[in-house]
Symmetry: D2
Subunit: 397 residues, 4 copies
């Protein structure tokens, strides 16, 4: 198991580094909006995590690579100290990319010494390593979505590589799975790794409901656009229609019309839209409006999880396709307690004004997500690979 | 029952008008922020509601008082048509107050003819009248909270009248009521009037929990301030601490220090803070931070409702004191359906990024609230009479 | 002379009051934008001027009407003390209009006692009274332009009264007056009242130039619009075209198309545009763009003044028609010194990023302006009665 | 002369390239504020200038390096076409630095062919080359000031190299030079290169005045700070004090207190302030406030130019030290005409709301400035090397 852990550590660390292979130093330095971070920052921050939580407190004789990094690459951990302001992460030309890569190597060397000394035999430290690995995987997905956003702003329509972000089509006709509901168990039971926000396992009461076998497609969503969906307030949450108006949304993010045909921008550059593929890059508002247009609704996160537990094999695009907006606001489960210490800031303090997404996307690292996994973003978020699965019921009266 | 309805109509309409008795035309014309509306607008809009939904479609021969009012005093009903922009309601010096009062009389005369003709015997129209009455009561509370906000900005510290907005002290020691939870029924059962968002009645599963017998007091909240509560991010949701920093909050709204003593502004002007009274004018962020400081949490709206059903008599400040933030985001109940037609825009389209408040305040018209009543505001809201009742449990593991 | 001064005092004070005769208390309380002030504020501030600079320091036994007014109605005099923030002057419902009118009477009574005691025989105090009277006249023009702006935002298109703000047509064909230039004297020579910014009289060197006999008309300006003037950056200062784009300007302020015909809003409500009348409500950017379109330019303030001294009778719309943008930025004349004491803040501290307007408008009180008078506003200003007179020359080479 | 021109071309082009020698690709890609541009953009835009105005119209067979660059690197020439938005120049990771350097070589090869073909024998084209060279020199100064701004935001306090931006101390005591004034000639007479905004030469009338022999020093400016200069509105233009308050200015740009001592950030990193050196990085507001504090004023640009013509040798820091704010707004000279064609957009369209600076700075390329040279920036500008020379007179009366 120890060897496995070290191997996993090496694999995951290499993958973060490998993601920037096709990129220039400039590609890695820029920040396209406050919500996104430069590649260089992701590479440094994921190393900062190991240095801060594992090496500095736990590796005898470890010397920090550069003391200023403790401040520069702290994302949001107040317990650790002040943070360089997030909206201007893209104004740091120094340290340059090579220095950040050297920082990664320095941290990796430290971690290997730490593993050699067997510290990870300790249960809590073992759990901490798993947290660090899952943390780094989350940033891998962000590396690609943040990069996509940056490249999308460039009139040259740059190509990163193959279409890693293109979700595969599901079954063509829309079928539904029905469930009786009642008292059901949801949440992670504590066996194996999970983020603290996934637990504790607990009971929820569900009314009878149905859930769609597959995600909504580009073609179906186009019918909504063609029906004037973006001009008709009756389909929208009031706040959603205000966002649409203010932002000038007329289609999902990264869609553009070229000579009357819809194209979408992706990691492979710009290409014509394919109608059979699941629609992605929707805000919660758009997902909700489409559902109302379609005479359906979003699932709650508990309906989603219950369905997934019951019939995962019959929901072929459950994971690895697109994150699926639920109507559940991100809130603590009954009995939730944040982890002790600074890592307790990982999840709990964000539990307001965000909505839960379930599943996983084409860009989610393999093996990273789970049936109990809770991703979360504000309702207006569109630069993630966010799609939707419809739900229905219960019938009233 | 018909006579009752007419009498209630007269009473409620008179009360809206009576609220401005102590005020000048200028007091009634100004708008202090986009969230608040001028008194004059409230008086006109509540008349617009009757004219638009009852008289124009249902009273033969009715002539609108002024055709432009359909646009000027529409709050947010897209089905009815365009709306004059909310943030500049305070830029309308015309119609003046006297004209708006004449509008009210015109509408009242129309309504009395409508009642005379017996239209309200129809079940749906009867329900519509109840909706209109409850709508007007909601605006009565807003009249006073909006006025308070306006007057608070005036260095002359104006006095409206007696301290209608001052909540009475509850029992001194903090006691707790414990509940087993399990499958419980919540939501309105459809007997008697309720807003559509209160139903349908349905089952929720609750884990064991405790709820406080009384609201948190000014004195208790002061201890939080004195402990550096507004400077210590560990108590706060991340978004809450950002709001605090950006807005410069250092205490609840309307609190100010005068020569080292805390005062609060109210409808009776400025007066020293009384420690035994329930704290009000908290944002959800502040309520949540205080709860964490106190080793407790906010109740969910279902815990609140269940406790209220079980032991209302033992929760003396359940209603008529202060609205109580819950940790529940404002979302539709299973099987929720908005009412048909334009009044379907009343509630449903706001079900995102708002949080539920339960109970009722000193300014809530008597008889207006219910155990199933769901008030809702964004998390940063402070100009309403918003306080907090603590909850605890379940214990983990 | 003393009797004249007192009579003038009475006349000017009465006129400020008379301007609001047709208005309601609400009309007098609202503020439509940060640049404009409520009528009530103007009425109070012009009284504050007398109280602060004349009565409080100079009338034995004078009691301020309300001590808080010193702060509430101070416009921008730092030497006097803090000021209530200008952008929220419209959030003061108290003092109400009646109180402000009582304040005016209180101040007037004080001033009459002060005159009775003969204080104005003192040269400096006599000059101070003249300053106060001219100050009040400036606010009279602002009362009407600020009111016009407020009413223009109201969909009811309210009418104040007759078209006081409508400039009369000048001579039809466009004629030019030529001047040799050379060393000329400009500025006020100190005989009679002038604002400090008009002096000292001094020499300027002018190159040969021509100036138009009359102002540009609505009809001429329409030709610019019809030629795509608002879409063609080649006519515009870069900053002007940016302002146009950001603000969405497509015509002068208060112009609107109704069924394909141009109308303009005025104190008499909305009415069709008359092509022969001088165009008003132009920003400096629009005036400059039109001039470039017409193969001409704006005059400098010195050219304007020199021409006015030479041939005033041949420039029939020199004053009392519309303020005329010049290309001169507002700067001190050689040897300029601000007056001693607080009234030294009257003019000098605004001498940056504003442009000089010469002449006077239909709304300028009779006798208020002069050939040396320097009005000034930022380049984007449009709510004043601002028009343009073209200039040409010198020919290069 | 031809050989000279080609040699100058080579020299100037090499210098732009040489300036980035010490920098990484990331240093060259970032944009620290909308007013500043990335190094990469400067390098591309100065090449775009040659390609657009010389090669594309005038070199037979020339192929544009990349057709999209016409849009990407157009700064503000509407006659040429649309422009990529200035505030997001720093979001272009592509083309990368190497591509931009290849673009430079492509353009240089084209230019050498163009020179070989003798096109520059044509008078107009010769003038166009001189314009392009001076344009590139202007961008060289911007390269360094923009870079300084970027590096200054980095907590690592990066070092570019030696203190190129540090102005040398002038003579210690403050002496004054007096002038009679009268009708004087200013402006460029057309012999040799000048920007169009420097002409035509023309007469201005000057009142008697005195001008300071040297610039104000850090030590003198510190006395202003220590006297509470940044807290006392009486020294400031109203708009300046508002800017100070809003921006939180407490000292010139790049000054910071470290353990009670003032340091300044420069191209050589952070170092203690030297009191004898001329103060730089002042806004016009600060320069003006200091002058008022010192009982002096800013010179007009005509006073400056006249003094410089009369006694340049006695004003040792006239140029090559710091740009010197004047009180003159940037306006066209009598008879000014913008050049024909697209290069006519170079200067004229910016002649509003900017103020003229005279002289030249440590970072101005040698030989670039002239006595008639007119630099210009908005009054709040601080990231340029902007200092001040005092003036006095005329005495009033």
């Amino acid at each position: 198991m120890t060897d496995d852990l070290i191997r996993t550590y090496r694999d995951i660390r290499s993958r973060s580094r490998a993601l920037i292979e096709p990129l220039s130093a400039e590609d890695c330095a820029l920040q396209s909006m406050p919500d996104a971070s430069p590649q260089k920052w992701h590479l440094a921050h994921t190393s900062w995590f190991w240095e801060t939580f594992v090496l500095t407190p736990g590796l005898p004789g470890y010397r920090a690579f550069d003391p200023s990094f403790s401040y520069l690459f702290n994302s949001y951990y107040n317990s650790i100290g002040e943070q360089f302001p997030r909206p201007i992460r893209g104004l740091l030309s120094r340290p340059d990319l090579n220095t950040v890569l050297a920082y990664r190597e320095h941290v990796d060397a430290g971690m290997l010494r730490w593993f050699d000394q067997g510290h990870h035999a300790d249960t809590d430290l073992h759990a901490l390593v798993l947290l660090g690995l899952n943390h780094e995987q989350q940033h891998q997905e962000l590396q690609l979505t943040d990069l996509k956003h940056l490249l999308s702003l460039n009139p040259l329509r740059p190509v990163y590589g193959p279409a890693l972000d293109r979700p595969a089509p599901g079954p063509a006709p829309m079928a539904w799975h029905g469930f009786e509901g009642g008292a059901v168990t949801v949440g992670h039971d504590g066996r194996g790794f999970a983020f603290d926000n996934e637990g504790p396992a607990h009971t929820q009461w569900l009314a009878p409901y149905e859930i769609a076998e597959r995600l909504v497609t580009n073609g179906e969503y186009l019918a909504f656009i063609d029906a004037g969906g973006y001009q008709r307030p009756e389909f929208w949450l009031s706040e959603g229609f205000a966002a649409l108006t203010e932002q000038g949304w007329q289609a999902p993010a990264y869609w553009q019309q070229r000579d009357g045909r819809w194209c979408r921008f992706g990691l492979d550059g710009e290409a014509p839209l394919r109608e059979q593929e699941p629609v992605i890059h929707l805000s919660l508002y758009e997902a909700d409006a489409y559902a109302r247009f379609a005479g359906a609704r979003l699932a709650t996160e508990f309906e989603w999880e219950h369905a997934a537990r019951q019939v995962p094999a019959q929901l072929p695009d459950l994971a690895n396709t697109a994150w699926q907006w639920t109507s559940s606001s991100y809130a603590p489960y009954p009995g939730y307690q944040a982890a002790a210490g600074a890592v307790g800031e990982y999840n709990g303090k964000f539990m307001v004004n965000q909505y839960v997404l379930r599943g996983g996307s084409r860009l989610t690292p393999p093996g990273h997500s789970r049936i109990t996994y809770r991703n979360f973003f504000p309702a207006a978020t569109r630069w993630q690979l966010t799609g939707l699965r419809l739900a229905r019921g219960p019938r009233r009266g």
